[in-house]
Structures are given as C-alpha cells and as structure tokens.
Symmetry: C2
Subunit: 134 residues, 2 copies
C-alpha cells in the first residue's frame, strides 16, 4: 500500500478513522454481521482476502477467526454511493459468524405491535461459545 | 410508544442517539442501502411498516420515498447481538433504493490487486435521478 492508493482514497472514514463493514454470505445472501474497519484493516483485508476488522473494544486489529477459527474468506468487496459503508461478500468458515455461536448476529426479530413488542430469538446456537473460544 | 417500550430499550444508540440500519431486499437478499435511525424513526418505522430514517445531513426524519416515491415496506425488523445494528427486510417500491437511480447503493466493486485496484461500477442506472427527484 502506498500513499497513491487511490482506491483507498475513495473510502470515507469517520472522525475516528473507521467505516462500518457488512459481512454477507456470498452464496446465500444472509447478512452475517457488521463490524468496523480502519484503513489498515481494509488494506490487509484486500491484500490477504481474509476479513480483518478494527475491534473498537480492544482497540486493535481483529483478524476474524484468529481465536475461533471462523475465518471469513472475502469473495468481493463493495462500497456504497457515499463511500462510507463497505460490503464484504464472504465465505464464512465453520458457518458461524456470531460470538454467540450462531450463523448470523441478526438472530432477533421484532414481533408483535408497538405497544407490546418483543425481540424473538429465531436462530439456533450451532456451537457452544465455550467450545469456540477455549 | 411509552417509556415502558422495553423492545426499544434493547436497542443501543450511539452517543448521537443513532443506530445504523441495513435495508435488505426481503425477496432477493440484495443489500440495498445503509442509513441511520434514531429512536423516533425506529418507533415510527415499526408502527407504520414503512422505513423512516434520520437524515444526518438534513437533521430531520427522512421518510424513505417521501420525494422519490421509492417507499420501503418493512417485512421484518432484526437486531444484532450487540443491539447496535438494525436489519430491515423490505420490499423496495420502484425497485430503486439509491439516490443515483440504482437498485442498490453498493454498486461499486473493488477489482485488481492492492497496488493497482479500482472501484468498478457494476450496476446500471435504472432511472435518471433528475426524473426521480423533480
């Protein structure tokens, strides 16, 4: 990566130097998760073909799967019209993206009416998190 | 909506009172756009079944389609594990979500290698924006 990486210049990072990135299953279209990237993680993602995020909680690069083995192979990288959201079409190793052991982080659906609504958990835990992170 | 809306209490808004919301075509799985919601727009979205966002540039509620007619009928509302990203599965009226006149805002794909990459526009303009916003 050089200062002349014009493809990177088209990406708009926020005032913390971050951009949200959606990971979508390249085959099924399921939205797996949303995480954040900085310029370094984006460049490494593109260079290696594996999703690398910026962990806001740990304030360091987060090579997805580094602990869980649930690596994301990046098939396609997309940018939205405003240049401030990324979309990664990925193959999710192990079929589990969420730290809860589910395929997708979006496992809660809002049911009911406005006065009486609940978030229903719709997706099964595929693997006990204690077995993923050991 | 009352103060007792516990479903709303499960949603984590950022320090500006906002949460990113992904709009995905409920039938095809195509990711159409990402915008922001505050509590008011989220509550109205759920109550009306039409996507209402918070426009950061205009600092007001943005009832998607209010100018373009490209309303999003919300089939399903989902929340991620951390409670800080929303997913709307929608039927996109007119088949156009992007202000550029394209189906999706994610119409650019990163091609090439790291030293020589370009954002390739892959999706056609379905309708001239001048005809959408007139």
């Amino acid at each position: 990566m050089t200062e002349k990486s014009s493809w990177l210049a088209a990406v708009t990072f926020d005032d913390q130097g971050l951009i949200p990135a959606i990971a979508q299953d390249a085959d099924t279209g399921t939205i797996l998760m949303v995480a954040w990237m900085n310029a370094e993680s984006l460049a490494e993602t593109f260079a290696t073909g594996r999703a690398v995020y910026w962990s806001r909680s740990r304030q360091r690069l987060w090579r997805k799967g580094e602990e869980s083995g649930h690596v994301q192979q990046v098939r396609e990288l997309r940018l939205d019209c405003d240049g401030d959201v990324l979309l990664l079409k990925v193959k999710q190793e192990g079929g589990i993206a969420c730290h809860t052991g589910r395929e997708s982080c979006f496992f809660r659906r809002l049911d009911g009416d406005t006065d009486n609504a609940v978030w229903t958990i719709t997706d099964p835990v595929l693997k006990d998190p204690d077995l993923i992170y050991q």
